[in-house]
Protein backbone atom coordinates (compact mmCIF):
# COMPACT_ATOMS: atom_id res chain seq x y z
CA UNK A 1 0.00 0.00 0.00
CA UNK A 2 1.17 3.49 -0.76
CA UNK A 3 2.38 5.65 2.03
CA UNK A 4 -0.70 7.46 3.25
CA UNK A 5 1.18 9.75 5.61
CA UNK A 6 2.62 11.73 2.70
CA UNK A 7 -0.20 13.46 0.90
CA UNK A 8 0.30 14.79 -2.60
CA UNK A 9 1.52 18.39 -2.96
CA UNK A 10 -1.91 19.72 -3.92
CA UNK A 11 -3.37 18.46 -0.65
CA UNK A 12 -0.49 19.77 1.42
CA UNK A 13 -1.15 23.26 0.17
CA UNK A 14 -4.87 22.95 0.70
CA UNK A 15 -4.45 21.54 4.16
CA UNK A 16 -2.15 24.40 5.03
CA UNK A 17 -4.62 26.98 3.74
CA UNK A 18 -7.50 25.33 5.52
CA UNK A 19 -5.79 25.25 8.91
CA UNK A 20 -4.22 28.66 8.52
CA UNK A 21 -7.59 30.20 7.72
CA UNK A 22 -9.19 28.45 10.65
CA UNK A 23 -6.53 29.65 13.06
CA UNK A 24 -6.32 33.21 11.92
CA UNK A 25 -10.03 33.74 11.56
CA UNK A 26 -9.22 35.83 8.53
CA UNK A 27 -11.36 33.49 6.56
CA UNK A 28 -12.17 35.46 3.49
CA UNK A 29 -8.95 37.45 3.42
CA UNK A 30 -6.85 34.30 3.68
CA UNK A 31 -8.65 32.26 1.08
CA UNK A 32 -8.86 33.40 -2.48
CA UNK A 33 -11.45 32.03 -4.80
CA UNK A 34 -8.98 29.79 -6.62
CA UNK A 35 -8.33 27.84 -3.42
CA UNK A 36 -12.06 27.54 -2.75
CA UNK A 37 -12.66 25.90 -6.10
CA UNK A 38 -15.74 26.93 -8.03
CA UNK A 39 -18.32 28.80 -6.01
CA UNK A 40 -21.11 27.76 -8.34
CA UNK A 41 -22.35 24.27 -9.15
CA UNK A 42 -21.15 22.46 -12.27
CA UNK A 43 -24.81 21.89 -13.14
CA UNK A 44 -25.93 24.90 -15.11
CA UNK A 45 -29.62 25.52 -14.71
CA UNK A 46 -31.44 28.44 -16.20
CA UNK A 47 -33.88 30.97 -14.87
CA UNK A 48 -34.47 31.89 -11.26
CA UNK A 49 -33.71 28.34 -10.11
CA UNK A 50 -30.24 28.61 -11.67
CA UNK A 51 -29.62 31.99 -10.01
CA UNK A 52 -30.71 30.56 -6.64
CA UNK A 53 -28.38 27.55 -7.15
CA UNK A 54 -25.45 29.92 -7.56
CA UNK A 55 -26.43 32.18 -4.65
CA UNK A 56 -26.88 29.24 -2.30
CA UNK A 57 -23.63 27.50 -3.08
CA UNK A 58 -21.55 30.69 -3.25
CA UNK A 59 -22.88 32.08 0.03
CA UNK A 60 -22.53 28.81 1.91
CA UNK A 61 -19.07 28.08 0.52
CA UNK A 62 -17.80 31.54 1.41
CA UNK A 63 -19.11 31.08 4.95
CA UNK A 64 -17.39 27.67 5.03
CA UNK A 65 -14.06 28.90 3.68
CA UNK A 66 -12.41 27.82 6.94
CA UNK A 67 -13.68 24.25 6.30
CA UNK A 68 -15.68 23.85 9.53
CA UNK A 69 -16.53 20.37 10.77
CA UNK A 70 -20.17 19.48 11.22
CA UNK A 71 -21.38 19.02 14.76
CA UNK A 72 -20.23 15.74 16.27
CA UNK A 73 -22.70 14.42 18.78
CA UNK A 74 -22.55 12.70 22.12
CA UNK A 75 -22.69 8.86 22.06
CA UNK A 76 -26.02 9.15 23.92
CA UNK A 77 -27.54 10.67 20.77
CA UNK A 78 -26.79 7.62 18.64
CA UNK A 79 -29.79 5.87 17.12
CA UNK A 80 -29.23 2.13 17.39
CA UNK A 81 -31.86 1.16 14.82
CA UNK A 82 -30.53 3.51 12.16
CA UNK A 83 -33.10 3.60 9.38
CA UNK A 84 -32.47 2.09 5.99
CA UNK A 85 -33.89 4.06 3.11
CA UNK A 86 -33.92 3.65 -0.64
CA UNK A 87 -31.98 0.71 -2.04
CA UNK A 88 -31.15 -1.90 0.61
CA UNK A 89 -30.08 -4.80 -1.59
CA UNK A 90 -28.73 -4.00 -5.06
CA UNK A 91 -29.79 -6.57 -7.63
CA UNK A 92 -26.47 -6.16 -9.42
CA UNK A 93 -25.01 -9.66 -10.05
CA UNK A 94 -21.51 -8.68 -9.09
CA UNK A 95 -22.77 -7.18 -5.86
CA UNK A 96 -24.69 -10.32 -4.98
CA UNK A 97 -21.59 -12.42 -5.64
CA UNK A 98 -19.43 -10.18 -3.43
CA UNK A 99 -22.11 -10.16 -0.73
CA UNK A 100 -22.22 -13.97 -0.72
CA UNK A 101 -18.45 -13.98 -0.25
CA UNK A 102 -18.68 -11.49 2.62
CA UNK A 103 -16.87 -8.92 0.47
CA UNK A 104 -13.57 -10.83 0.56
CA UNK A 105 -13.26 -10.14 -3.15
CA UNK A 106 -14.52 -6.57 -3.01
CA UNK A 107 -11.99 -4.12 -4.40
CA UNK A 108 -12.31 -0.38 -4.46
CA UNK A 109 -11.03 0.80 -7.81
CA UNK A 110 -9.38 4.21 -7.51
CA UNK A 111 -8.59 5.58 -10.94
CA UNK A 112 -8.97 8.42 -13.38
CA UNK A 113 -6.76 11.46 -12.88
CA UNK A 114 -4.69 10.01 -10.05
CA UNK A 115 -0.96 9.43 -10.25
CA UNK A 116 -1.01 5.72 -9.46
CA UNK A 117 -4.38 4.00 -9.94
CA UNK A 118 -4.89 1.36 -7.30
CA UNK A 119 -7.37 -1.27 -6.23
CA UNK A 120 -7.93 -1.52 -2.49
CA UNK A 121 -9.37 -4.46 -0.57
CA UNK A 122 -11.59 -4.03 2.48
CA UNK A 123 -8.88 -5.11 4.98
CA UNK A 124 -6.48 -2.70 3.29
CA UNK A 125 -9.00 0.13 3.59
CA UNK A 126 -9.60 -0.74 7.23
CA UNK A 127 -5.87 -0.70 7.97
CA UNK A 128 -5.53 2.86 6.70
CA UNK A 129 -6.00 5.99 8.76
CA UNK A 130 -9.27 5.67 10.63
CA UNK A 131 -11.75 8.32 11.55
CA UNK A 132 -14.82 7.81 13.73
CA UNK A 133 -17.50 10.50 13.83
CA UNK A 134 -20.93 10.73 15.43
CA UNK A 135 -22.93 12.82 13.01
CA UNK A 136 -26.47 13.42 11.83
CA UNK A 137 -27.57 11.91 8.55
CA UNK A 138 -29.91 14.52 7.11
CA UNK A 139 -32.24 13.32 4.41
CA UNK A 140 -33.52 15.94 1.99
CA UNK A 141 -36.99 14.55 2.64
CA UNK A 142 -36.85 15.87 6.19
CA UNK A 143 -35.83 12.97 8.41
CA UNK A 144 -32.57 12.81 10.28
CA UNK A 145 -30.81 10.30 12.50
CA UNK A 146 -27.55 10.32 14.41
CA UNK A 147 -25.04 7.51 14.06
CA UNK A 148 -21.41 6.72 14.62
CA UNK A 149 -19.54 6.22 11.36
CA UNK A 150 -16.07 4.72 11.08
CA UNK A 151 -14.06 4.91 7.90
CA UNK A 152 -11.06 6.12 5.97
CA UNK A 153 -10.80 9.77 4.95
CA UNK A 154 -11.29 10.05 1.19
CA UNK A 155 -8.08 12.11 1.07
CA UNK A 156 -6.10 9.16 2.38
CA UNK A 157 -7.60 6.83 -0.20
CA UNK A 158 -6.62 9.26 -2.95
CA UNK A 159 -3.15 9.59 -1.43
CA UNK A 160 -2.88 5.79 -1.62
CA UNK A 161 -3.46 6.21 -5.35
CA UNK A 162 -0.53 8.59 -5.60
CA UNK A 163 -2.62 11.71 -5.15
CA UNK A 164 -4.58 13.70 -7.70
CA UNK A 165 -3.15 14.96 -10.95
CA UNK A 166 -3.21 18.77 -11.18
CA UNK A 167 -6.05 18.78 -13.72
CA UNK A 168 -8.39 16.77 -11.46
CA UNK A 169 -11.29 18.92 -10.23
CA UNK A 170 -13.90 16.43 -9.10
CA UNK A 171 -14.00 12.95 -7.63
CA UNK A 172 -16.73 10.76 -9.09
CA UNK A 173 -18.00 7.92 -6.90
CA UNK A 174 -19.95 5.01 -8.40
CA UNK A 175 -21.98 2.42 -6.59
CA UNK A 176 -23.35 -1.07 -7.13
CA UNK A 177 -26.91 0.23 -7.17
CA UNK A 178 -26.12 2.28 -10.26
CA UNK A 179 -25.66 5.62 -8.55
CA UNK A 180 -22.88 8.07 -9.36
CA UNK A 181 -22.08 11.44 -7.87
CA UNK A 182 -19.33 13.99 -8.34
CA UNK A 183 -17.78 15.86 -5.42
CA UNK A 184 -15.57 18.89 -5.82
CA UNK A 185 -12.22 19.18 -4.09
CA UNK A 186 -13.63 21.48 -1.41
CA UNK A 187 -15.62 18.50 -0.09
CA UNK A 188 -13.02 15.89 -0.99
CA UNK A 189 -10.36 17.46 1.24
CA UNK A 190 -12.75 17.87 4.19
CA UNK A 191 -11.61 15.75 7.16
CA UNK A 192 -15.12 14.37 7.74
CA UNK A 193 -15.44 13.13 4.17
CA UNK A 194 -14.84 9.42 4.74
CA UNK A 195 -15.44 6.08 3.09
CA UNK A 196 -17.29 4.46 5.99
CA UNK A 197 -17.17 0.73 6.65
CA UNK A 198 -18.47 0.84 10.22
CA UNK A 199 -21.81 1.91 11.68
CA UNK A 200 -22.29 2.19 15.44
CA UNK A 201 -19.23 0.00 16.10
CA UNK A 202 -20.27 -2.83 13.76
CA UNK A 203 -19.57 -3.61 10.13
CA UNK A 204 -21.74 -1.45 7.89
CA UNK A 205 -24.99 -3.41 7.39
CA UNK A 206 -26.18 -4.21 3.88
CA UNK A 207 -29.23 -1.97 4.23
CA UNK A 208 -26.98 0.98 4.97
CA UNK A 209 -24.66 0.36 2.02
CA UNK A 210 -22.27 -2.51 2.82
CA UNK A 211 -19.40 -2.84 2.55
CA UNK A 212 -18.57 0.85 2.19
CA UNK A 213 -20.56 4.03 1.88
CA UNK A 214 -19.51 7.62 1.50
CA UNK A 215 -20.06 10.24 4.21
CA UNK A 216 -19.96 13.83 2.93
CA UNK A 217 -21.33 15.42 6.06
CA UNK A 218 -22.16 18.89 4.77
CA UNK A 219 -24.64 17.51 2.25
CA UNK A 220 -28.07 15.93 2.34
CA UNK A 221 -28.48 12.19 2.40
CA UNK A 222 -28.71 11.70 -1.34
CA UNK A 223 -25.03 12.60 -1.73
CA UNK A 224 -24.02 9.90 0.79
CA UNK A 225 -23.62 7.10 -1.73
CA UNK A 226 -24.08 3.55 -0.50
CA UNK A 227 -22.54 0.31 -1.89
CA UNK A 228 -19.41 2.09 -3.16
CA UNK A 229 -17.81 0.37 -6.13
CA UNK A 230 -15.20 2.72 -7.54
CA UNK A 231 -13.88 6.23 -7.39
CA UNK A 232 -12.48 8.17 -10.28
CA UNK A 233 -10.87 11.59 -10.38
CA UNK A 234 -12.12 13.68 -13.29
CA UNK A 235 -11.46 17.12 -14.76
CA UNK A 236 -15.10 17.93 -15.54
CA UNK A 237 -18.44 16.40 -14.64
CA UNK A 238 -19.42 16.21 -18.29
CA UNK A 239 -17.96 12.74 -18.67
CA UNK A 240 -20.04 11.37 -15.77
CA UNK A 241 -23.59 10.14 -16.32
CA UNK A 242 -25.62 12.65 -18.29
CA UNK A 243 -23.10 15.32 -17.46
CA UNK A 244 -24.85 17.25 -14.73
CA UNK A 245 -22.54 16.20 -11.93
CA UNK A 246 -24.32 13.16 -10.60
CA UNK A 247 -27.40 11.00 -10.75
CA UNK A 248 -29.39 13.35 -8.52
CA UNK A 249 -28.58 16.36 -10.68
CA UNK A 250 -29.41 14.25 -13.77
CA UNK A 251 -32.81 13.69 -12.17
CA UNK A 252 -33.27 17.42 -11.58
CA UNK A 253 -32.30 17.67 -7.92
CA UNK A 254 -29.70 20.12 -6.63
CA UNK A 255 -26.10 19.15 -7.29
CA UNK A 256 -25.05 21.24 -4.32
CA UNK A 257 -26.95 19.58 -1.49
CA UNK A 258 -25.88 21.78 1.42
CA UNK A 259 -29.54 22.88 1.03
Amino acid sequence: MADDTTPSPIFTRRRFLGSAAGLSGLVLAGCDVADMGDLTPPTKRGGLVGIADKLTMASQRLLMAHQPLVQEHDPRDIVQDFPTWGQTNPRDEEYQRLLAGEFDEWRLEVGGLVNAPVSISLPQLQSMKRRTQITAHICEQGWSAIAEWTGTPLMDVLAAAGGLKPEARFVAVSSFDGWYECYDLFDVVHPQTILAYGLNGRDLPRGNGAPVRLRVERHCGYKQLKFVKSIEAVATVEEVGRGNGGINADWGFHWYAGA
Partner: protein
Amino acid sequence: MTDQVSPPVVRRSLLVRICHWINLIAVGYLLVSGVHIFLDFPELYLGKTGFRGYPAVFRLEDIGISWDQAGQWGDRRWGRNYHFTFAWVFVLNGLVYVTWSLYRRHFRAMLPGTKPPVSRAITDDAASVAAAHRYRTPQGIAYLTMIFFVTPLMFLTGLAQMPAFTAIAPWLIDMFGGRQTARTIHMIATVAVVGFALVHVGQVIATGFFSNMRGMITGRLRTREE
Protein backbone atom coordinates in the same frame (compact mmCIF):
# COMPACT_ATOMS: atom_id res chain seq x y z
CA MET B 1 -63.47 68.31 12.67
CA THR B 2 -63.61 68.81 8.99
CA ASP B 3 -64.58 65.80 7.03
CA GLN B 4 -63.32 66.56 3.58
CA VAL B 5 -62.59 63.58 1.43
CA SER B 6 -59.70 64.40 -0.83
CA PRO B 7 -59.27 62.96 -4.30
CA PRO B 8 -57.01 59.90 -4.25
CA VAL B 9 -53.37 60.85 -3.95
CA VAL B 10 -50.25 58.73 -4.05
CA ARG B 11 -49.57 57.81 -0.47
CA ARG B 12 -47.79 54.51 -0.82
CA SER B 13 -44.32 54.45 -2.32
CA LEU B 14 -43.61 52.53 -5.49
CA LEU B 15 -40.97 50.51 -3.66
CA VAL B 16 -43.40 49.29 -1.00
CA ARG B 17 -45.92 48.35 -3.66
CA ILE B 18 -43.37 46.40 -5.70
CA CYS B 19 -42.11 44.66 -2.57
CA HIS B 20 -45.67 43.76 -1.61
CA TRP B 21 -46.45 41.99 -4.88
CA ILE B 22 -43.06 40.26 -5.09
CA ASN B 23 -43.66 39.11 -1.53
CA LEU B 24 -47.06 37.70 -2.48
CA ILE B 25 -45.50 35.65 -5.30
CA ALA B 26 -42.61 34.50 -3.10
CA VAL B 27 -44.82 33.49 -0.17
CA GLY B 28 -47.20 31.74 -2.53
CA TYR B 29 -44.41 29.68 -4.07
CA LEU B 30 -42.82 29.01 -0.66
CA LEU B 31 -46.12 27.77 0.71
CA VAL B 32 -47.01 25.50 -2.21
CA SER B 33 -43.47 24.14 -2.58
CA GLY B 34 -43.19 23.69 1.19
CA VAL B 35 -46.39 21.65 1.24
CA HIS B 36 -44.98 19.50 -1.56
CA ILE B 37 -41.81 18.86 0.45
CA PHE B 38 -43.81 18.08 3.58
CA LEU B 39 -46.16 15.68 1.77
CA ASP B 40 -43.17 13.63 0.77
CA PHE B 41 -42.38 13.04 4.43
CA PRO B 42 -45.57 13.82 6.33
CA GLU B 43 -44.49 13.39 9.94
CA LEU B 44 -43.11 15.79 12.53
CA TYR B 45 -40.81 15.03 15.46
CA LEU B 46 -39.10 16.76 18.36
CA GLY B 47 -35.40 16.71 19.17
CA LYS B 48 -32.31 15.78 17.20
CA THR B 49 -33.64 12.66 15.51
CA GLY B 50 -36.77 11.76 13.61
CA PHE B 51 -37.55 9.16 10.96
CA ARG B 52 -40.38 6.90 9.92
CA GLY B 53 -41.06 4.64 12.89
CA TYR B 54 -39.62 7.06 15.44
CA PRO B 55 -42.10 8.60 17.93
CA ALA B 56 -43.77 11.49 16.09
CA VAL B 57 -45.67 14.53 17.38
CA PHE B 58 -47.70 14.82 14.21
CA ARG B 59 -48.52 12.26 11.55
CA LEU B 60 -50.65 12.98 8.51
CA GLU B 61 -51.78 9.35 8.73
CA ASP B 62 -53.51 10.19 12.01
CA ILE B 63 -55.86 12.57 10.21
CA GLY B 64 -56.69 10.04 7.54
CA ILE B 65 -54.19 10.79 4.80
CA SER B 66 -52.01 7.77 4.16
CA TRP B 67 -48.29 8.00 3.56
CA ASP B 68 -48.74 6.71 -0.01
CA GLN B 69 -51.51 9.18 -0.78
CA ALA B 70 -49.42 12.08 0.53
CA GLY B 71 -46.45 10.85 -1.50
CA GLN B 72 -48.56 10.88 -4.67
CA TRP B 73 -49.60 14.48 -4.07
CA GLY B 74 -46.18 15.72 -3.08
CA ASP B 75 -43.50 16.39 -5.69
CA ARG B 76 -40.40 17.06 -3.64
CA ARG B 77 -38.11 17.64 -6.59
CA TRP B 78 -40.26 20.50 -7.81
CA GLY B 79 -40.84 21.52 -4.22
CA ARG B 80 -37.18 21.72 -3.25
CA ASN B 81 -36.12 23.53 -6.41
CA TYR B 82 -38.76 26.23 -5.97
CA HIS B 83 -38.63 26.41 -2.18
CA PHE B 84 -34.95 27.31 -2.20
CA THR B 85 -35.38 29.63 -5.17
CA PHE B 86 -38.21 31.64 -3.66
CA ALA B 87 -36.57 31.63 -0.24
CA TRP B 88 -33.92 33.84 -1.86
CA VAL B 89 -36.57 36.04 -3.49
CA PHE B 90 -38.42 36.33 -0.18
CA VAL B 91 -35.33 37.14 1.88
CA LEU B 92 -33.80 39.66 -0.54
CA ASN B 93 -37.16 41.35 -1.15
CA GLY B 94 -37.83 41.40 2.60
CA LEU B 95 -34.45 43.00 3.29
CA VAL B 96 -35.19 45.76 0.77
CA TYR B 97 -38.62 46.37 2.31
CA VAL B 98 -37.42 46.38 5.93
CA THR B 99 -34.42 48.60 5.17
CA TRP B 100 -36.58 51.08 3.28
CA SER B 101 -39.28 51.04 5.94
CA LEU B 102 -36.81 51.60 8.76
CA TYR B 103 -35.35 54.50 6.80
CA ARG B 104 -38.84 55.94 6.20
CA ARG B 105 -39.88 55.13 9.79
CA HIS B 106 -42.77 53.18 8.40
CA PHE B 107 -42.87 50.73 11.32
CA ARG B 108 -43.28 53.46 13.90
CA ALA B 109 -46.86 54.00 12.75
CA MET B 110 -47.59 50.33 13.50
CA LEU B 111 -46.55 50.60 17.14
CA PRO B 112 -49.39 50.69 19.67
CA GLY B 113 -50.27 54.10 21.03
CA THR B 114 -49.03 56.06 18.06
CA LYS B 115 -51.30 58.36 16.15
CA PRO B 116 -51.14 58.12 12.40
CA PRO B 117 -49.85 61.27 10.72
CA VAL B 118 -52.87 61.25 8.45
CA SER B 119 -55.95 59.20 9.01
CA ARG B 120 -56.32 57.00 5.98
CA ALA B 121 -59.94 56.17 5.68
CA ILE B 122 -60.35 53.26 3.39
CA THR B 123 -63.96 53.96 2.60
CA ASP B 124 -66.13 57.01 2.96
CA ASP B 125 -68.30 55.17 5.46
CA ALA B 126 -67.95 56.64 8.95
CA ALA B 127 -68.47 53.27 10.66
CA SER B 128 -65.66 51.74 8.65
CA VAL B 129 -63.43 54.64 9.57
CA ALA B 130 -64.18 54.03 13.25
CA ALA B 131 -63.54 50.31 12.81
CA ALA B 132 -60.28 51.00 11.05
CA HIS B 133 -59.17 53.04 14.03
CA ARG B 134 -60.33 50.46 16.55
CA TYR B 135 -58.37 47.67 14.86
CA ARG B 136 -55.25 49.72 14.27
CA THR B 137 -53.43 48.53 17.37
CA PRO B 138 -54.02 44.78 17.05
CA GLN B 139 -53.36 45.05 13.34
CA GLY B 140 -50.12 46.92 13.89
CA ILE B 141 -49.01 44.31 16.41
CA ALA B 142 -49.94 41.53 14.00
CA TYR B 143 -47.88 43.04 11.17
CA LEU B 144 -44.89 43.76 13.41
CA THR B 145 -45.03 40.21 14.79
CA MET B 146 -45.04 38.78 11.28
CA ILE B 147 -42.17 40.96 10.10
CA PHE B 148 -39.92 40.81 13.15
CA PHE B 149 -40.76 37.48 14.77
CA VAL B 150 -42.44 34.93 12.49
CA THR B 151 -40.33 35.75 9.42
CA PRO B 152 -36.96 35.52 11.22
CA LEU B 153 -38.19 32.35 12.93
CA MET B 154 -39.06 30.84 9.55
CA PHE B 155 -35.67 31.84 8.19
CA LEU B 156 -33.68 30.46 11.13
CA THR B 157 -35.62 27.20 11.44
CA GLY B 158 -35.11 26.76 7.69
CA LEU B 159 -31.35 27.28 8.00
CA ALA B 160 -31.24 24.93 11.01
CA GLN B 161 -32.34 22.10 8.71
CA MET B 162 -29.50 22.63 6.21
CA PRO B 163 -26.49 20.33 6.58
CA ALA B 164 -24.02 22.94 5.28
CA PHE B 165 -25.46 25.83 7.21
CA THR B 166 -25.37 23.94 10.48
CA ALA B 167 -21.67 23.29 9.87
CA ILE B 168 -21.30 27.07 9.73
CA ALA B 169 -23.56 27.73 12.73
CA PRO B 170 -24.07 24.59 14.84
CA TRP B 171 -25.60 26.75 17.59
CA LEU B 172 -28.68 27.04 15.38
CA ILE B 173 -29.53 23.39 16.04
CA ASP B 174 -29.01 23.78 19.79
CA MET B 175 -31.00 27.01 19.83
CA PHE B 176 -34.10 25.17 18.70
CA GLY B 177 -33.37 21.99 20.65
CA GLY B 178 -32.61 19.84 17.63
CA ARG B 179 -33.01 19.74 13.88
CA GLN B 180 -36.36 17.98 14.07
CA THR B 181 -37.74 20.52 16.53
CA ALA B 182 -36.63 23.24 14.12
CA ARG B 183 -38.53 21.50 11.32
CA THR B 184 -41.64 21.23 13.50
CA ILE B 185 -41.42 24.94 14.44
CA HIS B 186 -41.03 25.71 10.71
CA MET B 187 -44.40 24.00 10.12
CA ILE B 188 -46.12 25.73 13.06
CA ALA B 189 -44.86 29.07 11.73
CA THR B 190 -46.30 28.10 8.33
CA VAL B 191 -49.71 27.69 9.93
CA ALA B 192 -49.30 31.15 11.51
CA VAL B 193 -48.41 32.65 8.12
CA VAL B 194 -51.43 31.04 6.48
CA GLY B 195 -53.68 32.32 9.28
CA PHE B 196 -52.24 35.80 8.92
CA ALA B 197 -52.71 35.74 5.15
CA LEU B 198 -56.35 34.64 5.45
CA VAL B 199 -57.17 37.42 7.94
CA HIS B 200 -55.26 39.93 5.82
CA VAL B 201 -57.16 39.01 2.66
CA GLY B 202 -60.42 38.98 4.64
CA GLN B 203 -59.73 42.52 5.80
CA VAL B 204 -58.83 43.66 2.30
CA ILE B 205 -62.17 42.37 1.04
CA ALA B 206 -64.19 43.62 4.02
CA THR B 207 -62.82 47.17 3.88
CA GLY B 208 -63.32 47.78 0.17
CA PHE B 209 -61.58 45.37 -2.15
CA PHE B 210 -61.29 47.65 -5.19
CA SER B 211 -60.07 50.72 -3.38
CA ASN B 212 -57.58 48.58 -1.45
CA MET B 213 -56.31 46.99 -4.64
CA ARG B 214 -56.01 50.41 -6.23
CA GLY B 215 -54.07 51.50 -3.15
CA MET B 216 -51.57 48.69 -3.44
CA ILE B 217 -51.24 48.87 -7.23
CA THR B 218 -51.25 52.60 -7.96
CA GLY B 219 -50.41 53.79 -4.48
CA ARG B 220 -53.36 56.20 -4.60
CA LEU B 221 -55.41 56.28 -1.45
CA ARG B 222 -58.19 58.59 -0.40
CA THR B 223 -57.26 60.56 2.64
CA ARG B 224 -59.50 62.28 5.12
CA GLU B 225 -58.37 65.41 6.87
CA GLU B 226 -58.87 65.41 10.59
